[in-house]
């Protein structure tokens, strides 16, 4: 492999296909999340005359680095130069595309490179529509994928990588995550407005990690005026992470020229109170996943519109009492049967806090 692929020193020399898929998932995460293109990773294996006990030499690795750059497969092919890839196997997290967008179709690139076997984990509806598998097979490539058991399960880590992106494609709008950081009794600030910090350092670091995987962060214009948040994705040392989401102020109020949210060139003002309209605007800007960070009014608007796919509820083990600021504003719910119920996808201890990750599937009672 050529140098300059970044952290290439961490790439193992030989792998079997299952291990190669795990590596491809990790490589995919080096690219930006929440954008028009999904995170994809690719590992190219060259079978050898030597017996590696079912393993093959890793001769290329690649991942997608963002809109307008090479797809993972092409990046992996380029990384292998000048090694010949004739007869090699490409292991990819997502079905190779067969469309000419800002870059050429990956299916053709794989054929041209001499790849003779493609293993992919998750199918991409667009690639299926474009008959990517057929193209590869017609050109003598053995295709294995999607890696779906009969019961519909797919390798969970590869699926998790594109789950939100796939749902966004289906819905033709960004996938929406609502974040709330509240006390045990559901308060996001004390009566005097003080809220720094309700959650501890670990929870805040994780929230910044999540921001770094979003295409955009939304806050209401009122939150901009009151809290003046920077909304960047930062490391614990305060430095900016490798990928920065769009920073979106949603609402009708003007955003002052000096507002921190305007720092850099990531600022968007979605001058609307309608969540659907804000999402349409972001979708046009190539955003496939947004994090709604507040305030309560904006969160209530997304909930009322049925436009919340996931909730990140950071719970701090503290009590603020009934005079504190509530995490969710009035909802119009008058009786218990009207309340939306979700399912807990994950519970993540972030000492001293706890993060509940919720799917907003309405459950049977």
């Amino acid at each position: 492999m050529q140098a300059g692929q970044g952290r290439a020193e961490e790439i193992p020399d030989i792998l079997n296909e299952e291990e190669a898929l795990e590596l491809a998932v990790e490589l995919a995460k080096r690219g930006p999340g929440g954008q028009a293109n999904p995170q994809v990773g690719c590992v190219i294996l060259q079978p050898s005359r030597h017996d590696f006990g079912g393993q093959s030499a890793v001769v290329g690795v690649g991942w997608h680095r963002g809109a307008g750059t090479d797809h993972a497969e092409v990046a992996a092919i380029k990384s292998a130069q000048p090694v010949s890839l004739v007869g090699a196997t490409a292991v990819v997290t997502l079905q190779p595309c067969n469309a000419t967008g800002s870059t050429g179709p990956c299916a053709q690139a794989l054929v041209d490179a001499g790849i003779r076997r493609v293993v992919y984990a998750v199918s991409d509806p667009a690639a299926q529509a474009a008959q990517s598998d057929d193209y590869l097979r017609k050109h003598g490539v053995q295709v294995v994928g999607p890696l779906t058991a009969d019961d519909g399960s797919v390798p969970p880590r590869a699926y998790e990588l594109v789950r939100r992106w796939l749902l966004a494609q289906q819905r033709r709008r960004p996938y929406v995550i609502v974040k709330s950081s509240a006390s045990l009794d559901g308060r996001i600030a004390a009566p005097d407005g003080s809220s720094r910090w309700i959650t501890g350092a670990r929870a805040r670091a994780f929230a910044h990690f999540v921001r770094g995987n979003m295409g955009a962060i939304i806050v209401g214009t009122e939150t901009v005026l009151i809290d003046d948040p920077l909304l960047s994705a930062r490391r614990p040392d305060g430095s900016e992470g490798p990928f920065q989401p769009l920073r979106v102020a949603m609402g009708m109020r003007d955003v002052p020229a000096a507002a921190k949210i305007r720092t850099g060139d990531h600022f968007v003002h979605a001058r609307t109170r309608d969540p659907r309209s804000a999402l349409a605007q972001l979708w046009e800007l190539g955003v496939s996943c947004v994090l709604v960070e507040g305030g309560g009014q904006v969160i209530s608007a997304f909930l009322a519109a049925g436009l919340v796919d996931e909730i990140h509820a950071y719970i701090a083990p503290m009590l603020l009492g009934a005079d504190g600021v509530p995490s969710v504003g009035p909802t119009g719910i008058t009786t218990l049967a009207q309340a939306p119920r979700f399912s807990v996808r994950d519970v993540k201890p972030l000492d001293p806090d706890v993060l509940l990750v919720l799917d907003t599937t309405t459950l049977e009672k």
Copy 2:
């Protein structure tokens, strides 16, 4: 062993001392919790001329069944009759007593039975004060215990069994657990007062299991008048569990003769608004652990008095909105720095809900 010891069929034939302690812990749990006496279990092993690979025959088992009944050690000795216990080993979860209460001292009973070795997990300050170990050693018994490593750790399950009881002894008042079942946004009822059910069947079953280990359940008189709870510890099929806590209405209002809380002979009216006074009254009645189930006013009173040792926060993944009934009433907190912070001892998924078990230790920020 004699028959009639209850579920004796589950007792293994041979065990080593470590396994015997695990069994003793399980046996202890068959007795009532939250009372004046702790839950204690005892297993008696009879070394044999046969080599069991470090294991010995189990010749007696016992556990404490509640105030006025035999202590675990005496119950175990009796269960062994007519087998001779000369030269046998007693494995006990708690240091044997050396005091004559409503029953005779266990240290003497062990000596009289011919026991030659006593292994106990956790030391009991009262037994230590009464020089129980010295008594046993003076009578030729080898004493191993407490099973404390140099760093102060003890076998965690044996310690957990008596942790609350030991704290109650230290403080000369019942250990206090506050229970709350709330939505994600900290609401315990919808605006119209409907609250059945915010949590699901698993959470409710676990809450009844917890009730069955309490000496008393406290609710405010207002809750009695509004909700008319039965407050018994019930199995999922609705039948009453083996142990029933005292059912305590706390407050100045009269409790109607027809109130469900008066069912059976477990009712107590603590005619006070002062948590300290209510706890003193229950301590006199032999209660070492109470569960405070609400309402918000009673919970606030216990919090304000600094009389909460543990919080069971059942969180239902649903939203009720700011017009719902808050889980905690006004606290007088005006700014974040005044808010009490706790530590998360345990996170228990009770699908679809999550239980956070909190220690009310104030943490450094």
